[in-house]
């Protein structure tokens, strides 16, 4: 077996093109933020009923995917799977990039982003948000250290392993924290559930790995490097299992909610009313993001091609967006029940299903976050020895036949 050789990626015209496109998106997001800052959130589709909108869907997707993208590295270092080791650096870099993209969106959507320093220095420790600020900052530090020990010379594998374990534990805490943002909102029928935290963890496994496969599958050919079909197949099988697990947790979440009479109206609204959220749930989340990719990845697992695995990853990412849109926006669209036995009306939309139509500025901000993540990951592989030269199956595992 050859030793794995890591090299900086030489910027080809294709990579330059991608960089320019990503920069354009980031620039557009910057302009959108300035515009929103100047006029106030009145220019967005968010309002006093839907207080968190599309930016939060993007931000939370990226943050959840960030901790999931670290999976490949964790499996290598923590669980000792050597065949994943050559991809561990890339997995660490990608998770940092995704988190940075997500946080940028979250922070830039604040009513007063200029007060970020307040958020960084004034903590209210009963707030899960405040804990998250610490978890996010810590994640950068821990994963940064993990990347460093992997790349530095003469560091013993033991050290790499313990830093890797720390990163793994940290990422579990981080996703628990993100899920708890919703799980602890006791007053809203759509959120108040302890299952949110484990659901978010399993979602992160799935979305993060999908993202990882997608970028790996595109960057390798773009940089003229080779990736073995068995490796992709193996990652695909794992992704299929995660997709099924997400479906399982989703079923549990809705079934327990249906069981509780007080949440039955909300469940009816999401599952059967025929609103946009019903469509997003059944078509986006369950079908496109769950059943179809899971079938593609697991039914004839031996015969899946690289192309199929990448396509399934794309479907899972689309389904993931639908999933988070349903949780975040759907949860707010359903009215608060202040007077359970009454029909209510007011000038403040009491008792009404709340509408939400994101404007171009929210789209620009959200897409900018994705572009920022891509840019950071791209700069990382160009500047650092992150990507292995060769991920052929034989190179990874000598018992595999070479192609």
């Amino acid at each position: 077996m050859d030793r794995t050789v890591y090299r900086e990626v030489k910027p080809t015209p294709a990579i330059w093109l991608m960089a320019v496109i990503a920069a354009a998106f980031v620039g557009a997001a910057g302009l959108a933020v300035l515009y929103i800052e100047h006029h106030g959130h009145i220019v967005t589709g968010m309002n006093n009923q839907i207080v968190w909108g599309l930016p939060h869907v993007f931000a939370i997707f990226l943050i959840v995917a960030a901790s999931g993208a670290l999976n490949v590295a964790s499996i290598a270092s923590v669980f000792g799977k050597i065949e994943n080791k050559p991809m561990a650096r890339y997995s660490g870099l990608l998770s940092i990039a995704l988190l940075a993209g997500g946080l940028a969106v979250l922070v830039l959507d604040l009513g007063r982003p200029d007060r970020l320093i307040v958020a960084m220095t004034t903590y209210n420790f009963t707030s899960i948000f405040a804990w998250n600020v610490i978890l996010y900052n810590g994640f950068f530090a821990v994963v940064g250290a993990y990347l460093f020990v992997q790349m530095a010379r003469n560091i013993s594998p033991k050290v790499v392993r313990s830093v890797g374990t720390a990163a793994f534990v940290w990422r579990l805490a981080l996703t628990t924290g993100t899920g708890s943002i919703f799980g602890w909102l006791v007053a809203r029928p759509g959120y108040d559930a302890a299952i949110m935290a484990p659901l978010f963890i399993i979602m992160s496994f799935s979305f993060g790995l999908a993202f990882f496969i997608l970028v790996l599958g595109t960057t390798f050919p773009m940089t003229g490097r080779y990736i073995g079909p068995n490796l992709v197949k193996r990652l695909g099988r794992l992704l299929g299992v995660f997709a099924v697990a997400v479906l399982y947790f989703t079923a549990i979440r809705h079934l327990t909610n249906l069981y509780a009479a007080e949440h039955a109206d909300f469940e009816y609204f999401i599952l059967f009313s025929g609103s946009i959220y019903t469509k997003l749930f059944w078509i986006g989340q369950v079908l496109i993001g769950g059943v179809i990719p899971a079938a593609m990845l697991l039914r004839h697992a031996e015969n899946t091609t690289k192309g199929q695995v990448i396509l399934a990853s794309v479907l899972i990412i689309i389904g993931g967006f639908a999933h988070l849109y349903g949780i975040i926006i759907g949860g707010q669209a359903f009215p608060l029940e202040i007077f359970p036995m009454y029909e209510v009306t007011s000038t403040f939309a009491d008792g009404q299903i709340n509408g939400y139509t994101p404007t171009i500025y929210e789209w620009a901000l959200g897409m900018g976050g994705v572009a920022l993540a891509v840019m950071i990951a791209g700069m990382g592989v160009v500047a650092l020895r992150i990507l292995p030269m060769n991920l052929s199956d034989r190179n990874i595992d000598p018992t595999e036949p070479d192609f």
């Binding site: 009513g111 707030s127 405040a130 007053a187 007077f339 403040f348 009491d350």
Partner: protein, 252 residues
Amino acid sequence: MKLPALNNKSERPAELNRREFFKSGAAVASVTLAPGVTLMAFGGEASANADPGKRWGMLIDVNKCSTDCNACVTACSEENGWKLDGNPETDPQWIRKIDLKHKETGREASLPMMCQHCEEPPCVDVCPTGASFKRVDGIVLVDKHICIGCRYCMMACPFKARSFVHEAVEDQKSNAPRGKGTVESCTLCVHRVDKGGTPACVESCSATGNGAMMFGDLNDPNSEIAQALKNYPSMGLRDDLRVNPGIRYTNL
């Protein structure tokens, strides 16, 4: 870095005063805005005036509240300088009237709804910076100088009592500083209460002759409100959540 604010009730005012002390820049800005009276912007001074022995609250008699009366809403809007501007989705509403119709019996009722000044306020629990805070006398306020506009408190409030300021504000009242990009809600007219007065909504409700709103100290057993609560049935909204609202309703 300064030690974080514990959410401990008794430590809260001291913490705010200390924070206030270091924030001379902000203090200067607010003094120029309105000498001596900008309380809620800070929390610091507003907290210093709070009496830990008291718990301010209200009792609303739903039978006396009439469907076509909007006096409390108008009074609040004038007193605190917010207004409905033709964008019902984004305009602020510190207080609103809710019309109710019982699903089974068809009984109709109408009542005012505002921040319930919860004893265990979820908005305060979730606020990452501590901008959302409860004074020792039970009044829940937003410190406009440390609110970052994350809107988590709006997600957490069971009563939809808070508004986000979606655009630049004009004609501010000196007693109720407001700011684009921050969150606001009913202050229980803390500026009046601290001078021994009554909230504007309660005053206007009496003026109409309906007299559906009563204001007072829930902790003082001899107060009119405490007596009424003792002698007649009443409830807090969403009592199942155990946030123990300071606003009580009767005849609902």
